[in-house]
Subunit: 385 residues, 2 copies
Amino acid sequence: MENELELKWDRLRRAMVAEGVDGCLVTTNRNLYWLTGRVVNGYFYLPAEGAPRLFLKRPAETGIASTAIRKPEQLPEAFAQAGLPLPRRLMLEDGTLPYNEYVRLQRSFAASETVGGSQLLRRLRMIKTPWEIEQMRLSARRQAEVYRMIPSCYRPGMTDLELQIEIERLMRLHGSCGVFHADGINMEIFMGSLLAGANAEEPSPFDFALGGAGQDACLPLGANGTRLEEGMAVMVDMAGNYTAYQSDMTRVFAVGQLPGEALRAHAVSCDVTARMERTARPGVSCAQLYRDALDRAAEAGLAANFMGTRLQAKFVGHGIGLDVNELPVLTPRSQDVLQPGMTFAFEPKFVIPGVGAVGIENTYLVTDEGVEKLTLLEEAIVPLT
Amino acid sequence: MENELELKWDRLRRAMVAEGVDGCLVTTNRNLYWLTGRVVNGYFYLPAEGAPRLFLKRPAETGIASTAIRKPEQLPEAFAQAGLPLPRRLMLEDGTLPYNEYVRLQRSFAASETVGGSQLLRRLRMIKTPWEIEQMRLSARRQAEVYRMIPSCYRPGMTDLELQIEIERLMRLHGSCGVFHADGINMEIFMGSLLAGANAEEPSPFDFALGGAGQDACLPLGANGTRLEEGMAVMVDMAGNYTAYQSDMTRVFAVGQLPGEALRAHAVSCDVTARMERTARPGVSCAQLYRDALDRAAEAGLAANFMGTRLQAKFVGHGIGLDVNELPVLTPRSQDVLQPGMTFAFEPKFVIPGVGAVGIENTYLVTDEGVEKLTLLEEAIVPLT
């Protein structure tokens, strides 16, 4: 783990030097985990030159040198005690720290200039280390094991929520951490999404690939109590959070016989995916991958069903790691190209009114030559009986 | 529901007038729910005088007049279209909006002065409406039903996590929304906390009443895989999130015979609770309730076990509603006094090294004369067999 952290610190230091920043102070959970290997209560500081230091409001065993503090106003004094020069240009997490906590840190480092660092941290986290890739492989393996057992959860007459609850239990028994991490103050989701029947068309306020009305107005997303009936597609897109690093996978299950249109749309999703697997490699643009997928959907006469009907998501894939929605995003306007070490989910999905959603999602690692699929599980629609 | 919202809007308007604020713009989920009855993707604006308006990035049916926008920079133009004057002093959510989103809104309303409103909103949300109290009663009733079934989840040889997973399933089957809302950017918890044996002493980075090592370094809190053995206390403090408004309740279960010290400490917790129930009424200070509890713990020779051992929480209760950690907080330094319509959890707990944690937690409504307990369930330690 120590080498792992050194690797990340070195990359962050180089980025700081390039930006003319003297130090970076991090205090929100995902960035703390990325830079220290665990969540602590306090601040992690990395100078552009020299060793990092933790300033802890609660004691924790981390292997990183630390100083105890009670509040951020004590940071300059604690820096002096630790022999750390105060940064002139300090990088802070402008995208995840609340306004008043950011301003409180600005005031604590009175004379310093502060610059936002969240986007830079997102771009560093976009390229995974070998250890991070191993964690994602482990999550993907466990996620596939759980998905394989989904038919055993089904009983005729169940609702979508009842089926989801049994899957949640299986996930937890196989090591799911429970909490489903997504980047963005308003991006809430419980343990994933299960959509069946007409509910797959329902728009949701959340920027996930598909919607669903949900259980309650405080979280309008996903399963809504729909009774699973003959002819419904059941799309399962539950979290792959079996380590801190997530995988993302979607498979479709069928109650009885699905209409031909749904079967055909599922086959188109598999085709779109196979095409992406052939063309994706370092240097290929994320925007091109989106356009290719949309073009194939249009050729198949399914543009109006692609990524939703009443509301259509404008992406077909997304980076993934500690958060389910990392960089890059496969949108028509993305400026990113694939790079080795990126990990992303690809999810060309189609909503068939009254039937449900069909299509597959897999998680990929970008290698030197192309992409490697991490979520290994058969992709055909699985009957529920 | 419409009267419900009018009630809240009126209270917010009066508070804005008192603060010299012309309008309040809200966009984070809990405040959106509080002010509109649901989570939407966009902004809710309430002027100090006149009707509210939603500015929506995704369409939603709310019953509130709305204007579609794509990005916050369009807000001034959308205000003009809707005939709304631009606020000179605009209140924003400084405690929950990320720094860069707050600044983006400041820039969009170029000429305006902005003031932080999160603390004001917290203080308004502290006093519940009759409808909110009904929602909390409903959550408390379902939470008690689930807790009553906990012994049926137990099998000898289980780990703490395995028991918790079966409780999670029961919770979900009884309508738990799943997601456990806590205020604060770094306050993460899955569906609650179950602590047994030596794990109850483990400190955690999170500001909840007790700790526990947790499953993974990305969420070091709660159950950690401890095998449940003879002589262990199992403290169950799982979420009461059966509506958007939570109740909070803790009960203790025993594997075999607990040592006398644990039984005695549990009785002290019940005594401390009974004393609070006799003394709490409008006008009583929250600091006094904390000091009373600590004094009783000290008289019983249990000060070193009160609210933890290696790390001791400095509160014995907390407001609760849409978030599990609302105002007031029952700490030694609180300036708050109880007021009718407040709802709070009271949780005098003791950690007994090697055994686990004991004590009870209940949720109360402050009435005109005293407090009313909402979480009605026997409070003695329940044997697991």
